[in-house]
Subunit: 704 residues, 2 copies
Amino acid sequence: MNPLHGLFNPRSIAVVGASDRPDSIGARTLDNLLVHSRFDGEVWLVSTSKPELFGRRTWPSIEHLPATPELAVVVVPAAAAMGVLEQCAARGVRFAVVLTSGFGETGPEGQAMEARMREIAAASGMRIYGPNCPGITNVNGRLGLTFSPSFPHDLQPGPIGIATQGGGLGRNIMQAMARGIGVGMWSSSGNEADLQVADFIDYMADAEDIRVIVTLIEGIKDGARLVRALQKAARQGKPVVALKVGRSEEGARAAASHTASITGSAQVNSAVFAQLGVIEVDDIDELVDTAWLLARQLPGEVDEIAVYCSSGGAAALTADAIGQHHIGLTRFRPETTRVLSEKFPSYAAVGNPVDTTAAILAHKGLFDDTLLQVCRDPGVALVVLPIAIEYGAVTVEIAQAVLRVQAQSPVPILPIWMSDRTGEGFELYARHGIVPARSVGKAVKAIRRWLDHGRWRRRADRLDWQPWPTLGQAPQPGPALRITEREAKQWLSGHGIPVPGSALATTREEALAAAERLGYPLVAKVASADIAHKTEVGGVAIGLADAAAVGAAWDRIHANVRTRAPEAQVQGLLIERMAPAGGVEVLVGVSRDPVFGPVLTFGLGGIHVELFQDVARRLLPLTRSEAERLVREPRSFALLDGARGRPRADVSALVDLLLALSDFVAAQGDRIDEIDLNPVWVGPAGRGVLALDAVIVGRGEGAR
Amino acid sequence: MNPLHGLFNPRSIAVVGASDRPDSIGARTLDNLLVHSRFDGEVWLVSTSKPELFGRRTWPSIEHLPATPELAVVVVPAAAAMGVLEQCAARGVRFAVVLTSGFGETGPEGQAMEARMREIAAASGMRIYGPNCPGITNVNGRLGLTFSPSFPHDLQPGPIGIATQGGGLGRNIMQAMARGIGVGMWSSSGNEADLQVADFIDYMADAEDIRVIVTLIEGIKDGARLVRALQKAARQGKPVVALKVGRSEEGARAAASHTASITGSAQVNSAVFAQLGVIEVDDIDELVDTAWLLARQLPGEVDEIAVYCSSGGAAALTADAIGQHHIGLTRFRPETTRVLSEKFPSYAAVGNPVDTTAAILAHKGLFDDTLLQVCRDPGVALVVLPIAIEYGAVTVEIAQAVLRVQAQSPVPILPIWMSDRTGEGFELYARHGIVPARSVGKAVKAIRRWLDHGRWRRRADRLDWQPWPTLGQAPQPGPALRITEREAKQWLSGHGIPVPGSALATTREEALAAAERLGYPLVAKVASADIAHKTEVGGVAIGLADAAAVGAAWDRIHANVRTRAPEAQVQGLLIERMAPAGGVEVLVGVSRDPVFGPVLTFGLGGIHVELFQDVARRLLPLTRSEAERLVREPRSFALLDGARGRPRADVSALVDLLLALSDFVAAQGDRIDEIDLNPVWVGPAGRGVLALDAVIVGRGEGAR
C-alpha cells in the first residue's frame, strides 16, 4: 500500500484550530468536513477557546484526545502551528495537513519554520502536507480536508488525479467539471515543506481509481524524486499530463548562442518530460482536453484518424489543423468506402474527411451506420466529429446517434463543440463522458499528444528502465578543474570518444618532429589551461600543409599570445591532424541542470543552432535507442541523412560517441559541470567521428 | 453610396416561391421576413399555386407585381430559377438573392446555369447573390433574407460585419453572440455566381455601422477584386480579420525544396494578407477573439501591455504566453510603481505582471485605484486580466470593479475567463461589451495580432497605395519562351539587375580571348536554351584560374554535354567572372500565383530554405519600404546583418535589385511565369550584388 494512502483516506481526523467564527478558515474547514464530506471515521475538534462547536465537544489539544488521530488538519495561526506539529508528532499522528499561511512565502523566518517542519517530519515519520495551501480534495472518496468554499461545488468523481502546488490553477482545472470532466482527487501542496507534487504523483500512480494524472509544475524542489515518480506512473501505465508554469524567463535565455545557455531549464524540463513519456501541454485548457481523451481510452497501435462532419467548411478547417499538426488521415479500407458510397447520396464526400453534407440532417438514419463503419475501419485510431453550430433538436438527435455509435465503437469519437452557444446536445455528450473539446485547434493538439503518447508507449525500452541514476544534482565542492584541450581530449579518449591524432610540442623542434610523425595537413593550437577562447587571441592555425607552415605557425601563435594573453601560462602547441574534408560538423554538449542534473544537447553545427534553436536534449544517462532518436530529432538531421546530394554520415559512430560521453559523465559522478565538444566531425558512413575541440568544466584535481 | 446598399437595405422586396408548406424554404424565408424582421418597406409574395399566404395576397409572377421590387428573394427550385431571374432582370429588379441550391455544386449543368446568371447580371445590371446559400442577415437593420431557422436567435447588433461563402462556419461565428459578441451583418454568398465575398467586404468597408470585417476565405474567385476590397477597407481604417480554409493540401507542397513549389498558394495567401494589413488567424474561435478586441478599440502607438491578476499561477501562465508570442511587458513608470507599492500590502508583486495575491479579495477597495493606475500608465497599450476561477459573489464584485475602471480607462482591459464554469460575473462582462476571451493562449494570440495590426497601421506607405496593379492574373497564350541563361541575364541587366561580367564564346579561341579580357577567376557554363539543369549534365566549371583551365573546361564541358545531352543545341560557353569571396548567397524568385498573380520569394540560400522554410514573400509590385521589410523577415537575415562575425552585407543593393525585379515583372505584364535568381551574391556593404544564375520561364518570342 502506498505510504500516502492514509493521507487521502484517513481512518480518523483531528481538526486543530476548529472554529465557528463565520468565514474563518477553521469554520470553513469544519463545514467541508462535517457537512459536505461523507466521512465515516472519527472526527475530533481541537479548540483552545470553545468547549463545544456545532454541537460537538472539543478538546484543548492533541495531547488530550482520547485516541491518536491518523491525520491532523492544522488551521491555527502560523505562530502556533509549530507547537501543534510537535504535539502531533509526539502523539504519533501520521499525517499533518497544514492549511495556515504565513511561512516560507513571507521571508527567511518563515523559511526557517519550514526547515523545522522537515526536521519534525524526518525525526518522527509524520508526513507534513503544506503549509500555505488549500488542502486535499478526495472527490471519489468524498472527503474535503480544505477550507475552500468551492469544495461542495466540485464533486463530480472521475478517473483524473490532479497534483498542483498553487490553489488557483488547480481549482481552475477542477472547474472543468462544468463541462463534464470527472476528477477523482486533487492535491494542492502549497509551500511543500515536506511532501511534494512528486509524492502525490507517486500516490496517484498507485491509486486504483486514478487512470490519468494531471500536474502543474510551478517549481521543482527535488528533480530526482519527480523523475522517480514519473517513472512509476509510466510503469503503471498511467499517463501524466503536465503544464510547466513560468517558462517565459527561461525562454528569453534560449536565444543565446552557446550550448550551455541554450540549455535553459524550461527546455531541459520539456526534454526530460518527453523522455519520460510525460505529455507536456502549452496552456491550462489543453491539460483538460488531453487528459480527458487519455482517460477515455489509451492510444493503441494505429496512428491515423478520421474526420466525420456534416459541414464541408468545418471538415476542411479540421483537416487543416490535422495537417498542421502532422497527423495522418486514414486511407479507408475498400469495405469502408464501399459502405459509405452505398449509403450516402452522390454529393457527399466519402473520403477522409467524410463530409456527409447538411443533407444527412434530413436522413438521420444514415448517421449510425456510416459513423460506426468509419469507427470500425482498422486504420482509424480515433474519429473526430466537428460540430460547427448549435442547431437545437437536430443537434440533440445527432448527439444521441453519436452516443449509440460510441457504445459499439472500438475507438473514441471526439466531438468538437465549435460554437459559443451550448445547449441540450452539449449536455448530452458531457453527461455521457464524451466531453466535447471547445476549439478545433485545441482538440487537434490533444489528439496529436494522444497519438504521440501511443508511440511512446510502444517503444521497447520503456519498461526496461531502472530507477533513474541520480547524476550530479549535487555538485561536489572543490577547486575548479584546470585542464588544457589536450588533457580534456586524452581524458575523453580514454573513455571511447574518438579524437584526432595529436602531439603536444613544447619546443619549435618538437612541433616540427610531431608534424612529420602525424602527417599533413595539420592544425596547431596554443596549449594553455589559462586560455579558454584560443581563436580570439590568435592561438589557432589551420591547414598547415608542410614543415615550413608549422614552423611559421609556431612563431606567429607565440607572438600573438605574448601580445594578447601575456599572463597565460603556455605549455607549447597542440599539433593535431585536420579532419578529412567532406564531413558534417555537429555540436555535443553536456551541462548540469540545477533540477535534473546532467543534460546532453545535440545539434548540427553553427547557424542551425543559433538561428533556429534546432537542437535536441536528453537527461543522462542515454540508452542506445534514446540516442538513436536524439540524433534524428533536429530538423537539420537531413544533413546527416544524405540531403542535397551529400553522402550519408556515420550516424552509428555518432551514436557510439554520445553513449560513450553519457558513460563518461556517469563515471565522473558529480565532478563535471559542463562539456563542450564543438565541433564534432561526423564522416561519411563507415568513416567515424572525431571530437575536434573539447572543453571540460568541473571540479577536482584534473583528469583521471 | 455603395452599389450594394440596396442589397442590405432594400426599399421593397418580392419573395418568389413563397409558400406555407411547413419547414419549406419558402415558408421559413417568409417567417424570417414577416415575423422576425422589422422591415417597413413593401413586401410582395409571388406564388404560382396559392392566391393568398398568411393572409396576404400573392401574385403569379414578378411581371404581375404592381410595382418593381428593388430586391427579389428567389426560393423556387433550380429548374425554375433561371426563368425567374430573367423576369426579374426584365422587370428592372436591382438585386436577386437566390437561396435555392442545385447549381454549380452539382456538376457541369449547374455550372452552365451559373454562367448564364453572370450573363444576365452583366446584361441587365441586376446583381445576383448566391445561389446555394442561406442568404443575407442584416442584424443592425433587423432584416433576414434567409431561410435559416437560426435567424431569430442571432440578433445581437454590433460593429462586426461577416462575409463568408459557406453557411455552417458563418453561423458558427454568429453564435459567438452567445458570449456577447455583437454582429451587424452577415453575408453568406454560396456559389458566388456573380457577387463575391470581395464585394461584401467592399460594402462593409463603406457601411457606417461596421467597424471590423470578419471573413472566411474558402476559395477566391477573383484575386484582384479581393485585393481592391481589402485595400479599401484599409483606407477606411477598418481591420479585416480572415481565416483561410483549406490550407492543408498546400501545406504539404511547402515541403518541396524549389522556390516555385515553396510558393504554394496558402503561403502566398498569407503573404498577401500580411502585406495588405489583413489579420490572418489560425482557427475559427480566434476570429472572434481578435475581431472583438479590434472592435472595442483600435491599437495605438504603444506596443507593450500589462498583466493584472490575483493569482500568481495565472499571472505566470499568462506571462509565459506573452513571452512565447514575443509581446513586451511594460516597465511601469515610477509613478505607477509608487502608487501600487503604497496601496498594496508588501507581499503583492507590483512589477508587471501585477500579482495582487488573493489577499485583494479581502480589500476590494484596492482594486479600482490600482487597476486604473496601471491602465493610465502611458507605456501600457492594453491590460490583460486573467481570471482563473469562477468564485461566485467575489467574481461578480471584481467584474463590477473592472467595468467601473474600464469606463475611465484610456486602454482596453481584456479579461480572460479561464474556467469552464461561467456565471453571473461572466454575464456581467459580456453584457457590457467587455467580452472575456476563453483561453490564455487564444487571448494572447489575439493581443499579438492586435498589436501587429497597430504596427501595420503606423507604416508610412500604407495610405499611399494606388489601386493594386493587376499583373499576370491572366497569363497570355503563346509559345513558351526559349532563352539561354546569357539572354536572361542580358534582359534583366537591361532592367537594372546586376549580373557578372561575361561573354558568349562560340569557339575555343573565343573562350580563351574572352577569358583574358574578363580576367580571372572565371566560371564557364554551357550555353543552350535546351539545357535547364546545367550542373546535372556536367555543363559547369568553376574557379578557372588561367587560360589552361579555361581551355580544359571547354573540352570537358563539350564532351560531357555530347554524352549526357546529345539532343541539345549548344551555342558555346558562357564565360563569366566569378563572384568575389566573402559574400552571402540568397535566392530571389518570382512565380505566378493563380489567384493573386506574380509573387516574389526571398530567402537565404540553401539549407535555410529547404529545412526551415525560412523565406518571405510579397505580392508584386513592391514599394521600397515593403522591400526593406521583406529582406529582414527571414530569421536567417542575421547572416546579412553581421551575425557570427561576418561583415554586414550590402542590403541596400539587394533592396535595389528586388525593386528592379519588381519593375521588370511589371513592365513585362503577363509574359512572365517564373523567374529564378538562385543564387544572388550579396557582397559586403558597398560592394553590391550579382545575380549569379538566372532562369526566366514565360511566353512569347524572346527577350526584349
